[in-house]
């Protein structure tokens, strides 16, 4: 995996959906659906607990909560807070996006960008949802059946991965309509408008 190429190599025993990461480094936190015991406060066990909870968009009321009070998504957020306290160089997120609303996904995209740019963290997002990482990832590693198939840079087209917008573009192309690749709904909307305008001009 090129993104981890210059890191020490070894093994993380994987909870990851399709992949076991290999690295020797102790400088990695794995954020997953780990069900901790006791309260959030005792799990986080740090004077930075509240600050890290705020960074993951939770407040002080969560400190006294236990697993049974929390949703699946909140458990993952608290595990992310724990990783932020550990302050390791690499943070691996295991399907973190599942269970978040669209607004929360955007909030976390901004957080991951900030962690990478301002705190020099390497964030590895493990997911099957292209729309979650499309706008923030500097490198995309396509994995299938526990094998790395290919790596792509930010703006490269990834074959076989079709978010809804690409499905529609593919359908339009199959009907011989000339349409570029777009990642944003508004850009596609403008392109369809232009296409229809051109058609009208030609028919007039």
């Amino acid at each position: 995996m090129t993104i981890l190429e210059n890191k020490n190599m070894g093994v993380i025993y994987g909870l990851l959906g399709n992949l076991t990461l290999t690295t020797n480094s102790n400088d990695i936190s794995l954020v997953s659906y780990y069900k901790f015991k006791d309260t959030v406060e005792s799990y986080l066990e740090s004077d930075k607990a509240l600050k890290s909870l705020k960074m993951v968009f939770l407040d002080a009321t969560y400190l006294s909560k236990t697993i049974k009070d929390l949703s699946e998504s909140e458990i993952k957020k608290i595990n992310l807070a724990k990783a932020l306290i550990a302050n390791k160089e690499i943070i691996v997120l295991d399907f973190f996006d599942k269970g978040l609303t669209n607004k929360e996904q955007k909030d976390y995209q901004r957080l991951f960008k900030k962690l990478a740019e301002n705190y020099h963290k390497t964030i590895v997002i493990y997911t099957n949802d292209v729309t979650f990482f499309w706008n923030i990832a500097t490198e995309i590693i396509y994995v299938d059946n526990q094998k790395v198939i290919n790596t792509y840079s930010k703006n490269e087209d990834i074959p076989n991965i079709n978010p809804p917008i690409k499905e529609l573009i593919n359908l339009m192309r199959s009907k011989n309509l000339k349409i570029d690749n777009y990642k944003d709904t508004k850009d596609l909307l403008k392109a369809i408008y232009r296409l229809k305008e051109n058609e009208n001009e030609i028919s007039n």
């Binding site: 959906g17 609303t101 526990q146 709904t185």
Partner: protein, 199 residues
């Protein structure tokens, strides 16, 4: 809409229903209620003793899973679902699992259950999944914020936005196209939108 059963103060209708929930909702209590009511409940939990049906695995292109070791989370979810398909229960409830699956597999499963006259209830935070079933209930902290046919609920862009949800891509696009007078209606799938634009 006739009532199928009541789950923690929520009246579940007799129509295939998506329950769109905000991320602070803990669905465990609902899952327990459905189990008590003899529903087939699919979660990400560990696999129990399985009796695999090779025919079903073949039907859904999952033969490779039968003897696979080191199962991934996605493998386990697929096995859980395939293993449940021969259940005599009439009601199938999915708790935030379809979102992990590829579109083809999940639509094949939904279609199979519909063909076999099963009632489907899908709990999710993934707005795109609301297009799979006919009825939509939106909940926050176990309170129903709104419910109705998906065609009606997905018009409530402002309420959905307040809860943190976008519109599904195809609905958002058709809303924009409607604004530009390029289409007359909202569309819920690619084929019908493209056919409307280029008859």
């Amino acid at each position: 809409m006739p009532k199928l059963l009541t789950i923690n103060q929520k009246e579940i209708p007799t129509i295939n229903t998506t329950i769109l929930y905000t991320s602070n909702f803990n669905y465990i209590k609902d899952a327990q209620e459905y189990i008590v009511n003899d529903c087939t409940v699919i979660t990400k939990d560990t696999l129990k003793d399985l009796t695999l049906s090779p025919t079903l695995f073949k039907k859904f292109n999952c033969e490779y899973l039968i003897n696979k070791e080191d199962l991934t989370l996605i493998d386990k979810i697929k096995i859980n679902i395939l293993n449940s398909l021969e259940s005599s229960n009439k009601i199938y409830v999915f708790f935030n699992v379809l979102t992990y699956l590829d579109y083809e597999f999940k639509t094949n499963i939904i279609n199979y259950l519909k063909e076999n006259n099963k009632q489907i209830i899908n709990y999710t935070t993934d707005i795109e999944e609301t297009l799979l079933l006919e009825y939509l209930m939106v909940i926050q902290n176990n309170n129903i914020i709104m419910e109705g046919l998906k065609e009606d609920i997905l018009k409530e862009e402002k309420i959905l936005q307040k809860l943190g949800f976008n519109l599904p891509f195809i609905v958002e696009l058709s809303l924009g196209l409607k604004y530009y007078n390029l289409v007359d209606n909202l569309y819920f799938n690619n084929e019908s939108l493209v056919n409307s634009l280029w008859k």
